[in-house]
Amino acid sequence: MMRAGERIVETIGLRVAFGEGADARTVVDDVSFQVLAGQSFGLIGESGCGKSTLLRAIAGLNADYRGSILLQDKEIGRARDKAAYRCIQMVFQDPYACLHPRKMVQQALLEPLVIHGMDQRQDRVDDALLAVGLGPAFRYRYPHELSGGQRQRVAIARALIIEPEILLLDEPTSALDVSVQAEILNLLKTLRTQRGLTYIMVSHNLAVVAHLCNRVAVMERGRLIEEMSEDDVRHGRAREPYSRALLNANMPYHGGTAGSAA
């Protein structure tokens, strides 16, 4: 467990490209940034800017990258070991696609425990379900019997059950109703404080990012062009013209809330 303030995740010159030869597209272009332990780091940008690809590369889902990814100041290779996987977990965008349709909630939560050889499995499953606001009654449910918000809670429980230090969030609430979004955001905030987690979150919704994150980076066409604080985002203070345009486009029309577009 890292002390707050130490560097926990770092990328150096990260490059991800898809396609070959003439079709090659560089989706993440020479991105270098650091996240400190206990921070909540947000990545914003328009669709296609590469923020999700960057997140997936950090997660270890995309082994085809150039540059380095460092975890707790040690470089991790493209083939990761179980300890590295245990350290970083991810919550995905679509609650309707992130749970295996044929597996009960209990199976989904037990599996990571079995893979990592953890003990007291049944207790941990109960604790995980309680921590996300569901009860033991949800153990034997199938995903198709759950609402979007409930599925996302199960996904969060599954991510946290093996006690990671870093949680990657890929637009975790954009597919949810606003009322459910509020509950999930509150849950994420509580869990972070309780467990001292580090968050790296991707979102296109500035108000959500400002609510949950304390540091924000702007991406444009694969490049990380600016980093700023949450306060800067709230007040539309940016150095780069693109960032300023982005903040302004999302600015409230009149009342103060940015549009909650899905």
Binding site: V178, E183, K189, H204, L206, A207, A210, H211, G259, A261
Partner: protein, 288 residues
């Protein structure tokens, strides 16, 4: 404003299955003139189903009952499928959420637009092409010739949605039903598309039924807002008064959003009061 274009009274939609009956739309009544009316609700509130029931495009399993569904004097409830086909796409147009799914992926964009045009107008290929290019220009597409030749997957989401709007507006409909037209778009593109929609609707004096889950977007864009919950309309107010809405559900929806201008520790959540479920208005019944 003024003259009523669409009048709906006591619309009820039920889904019957072997074991249970799901009452998806409960006694919905409203009237639209040549104005922009937004229907806002969360998933499951019945807003999309209301729009589709009006156009008789609801799923086959849905049973629709209503006291009245009148469009410009035509009784849509009693209209035959043949009559509906003449009205749909001609006098009432529909714009859907994701152009990826509503444009034919195997046809070039230009061909789809000309086909839409020739369905309702007698024209030869050259005339149809000229009209299509004109429509593409009217939705702010700067290089209509190039877009005409492209396939849907080759254009961005925002462009695809503008193409959809162009297609839907060719027959110059009197009423447009837009079901989450900007939900799949980025904020910048959203504004662009809304501006185009606004322009076209106001200039042509058409009515717009804008269905969305985004309360603030609708409040800023539309003239009137209907808030739906569990199949019922809880509130029907002018858009500029939305921020002073009185119904606790609307207030809760407004309050639970994170705001850039106000930092809170915990977001307000919506606690659903069972008392909000009003007794259902029967088909043909009067407001209780």
């Amino acid at each position: 404003m003024a003259d009523t274009l669409l009048e709906v009274e006591g619309l009820n939609v039920r889904f019957e299955s072997a074991r249970q009956s799901h009452h998806a739309v409960r006694g919905v009544s409203f009237a639209i003139g040549r104005q922009k009316v937004g229907i806002v609700g969360e998933s499951g509130s019945g807003k999309s189903l209301t729009g589709r029931a009006i156009m008789k495009l609801a799923p086959k399993a849905a049973r629709i009952e209503a006291g009245k569904i009148n469009f410009d004097g035509i009784d849509l409830l009693a209209a035959s499928e043949r009559r509906m086909r003449a009205i749909r796409g001609n006098r009432i147009s529909m714009i859907l959420q994701d152009p990826k799914f509503s444009l034919n992926p195997l046809m070039r964009i230009g061909n789809q637009i000309t086909e839409a045009y020739r369905l309702h107008h007698r024209a030869n290929a050259a005339q149809a092409r000229a009209k299509a290019l004109q429509m593409l220009e009217s939705v702010d597409i700067r290089d209509p010739e190039r877009v005409f030749r492209q396939y849907p997957h080759e254009v961005s989401g925002g462009m695809g949605q503008r193409v959809m709007i162009a297609m839907m507006l060719i027959p110059e409909p009197d009423l447009i039903v837009a079901d989450e037209p900007t939900s799949a778009l980025d904020a910048t593109v959203q504004r662009q598309v809304l501006r185009i929609l606004d322009d076209l609707v106001t200039r042509r004096g058409a009515g717009l039924l804008f269905i969305s889950h985004d309360l603030n977007l609708v409040a800023d864009f539309c003239d009137r807002v209907l808030v739906m919950y569990a199949g019922q309309i809880l509130e029907d107010i002018p858009a500029r008064e939305l921020r002073h809405a009185r119904h606790p559900y609307t207030r809760a929806l407004l309050d639970c959003l994170p705001r850039l201008d106000r930092k809170v520790d915990t977001l307000a959540t919506v606690s659903r009061d069972p008392a909000w479920l009003l007794p259902v208005q029967p088909a043909g019944g009067v407001l209780a």
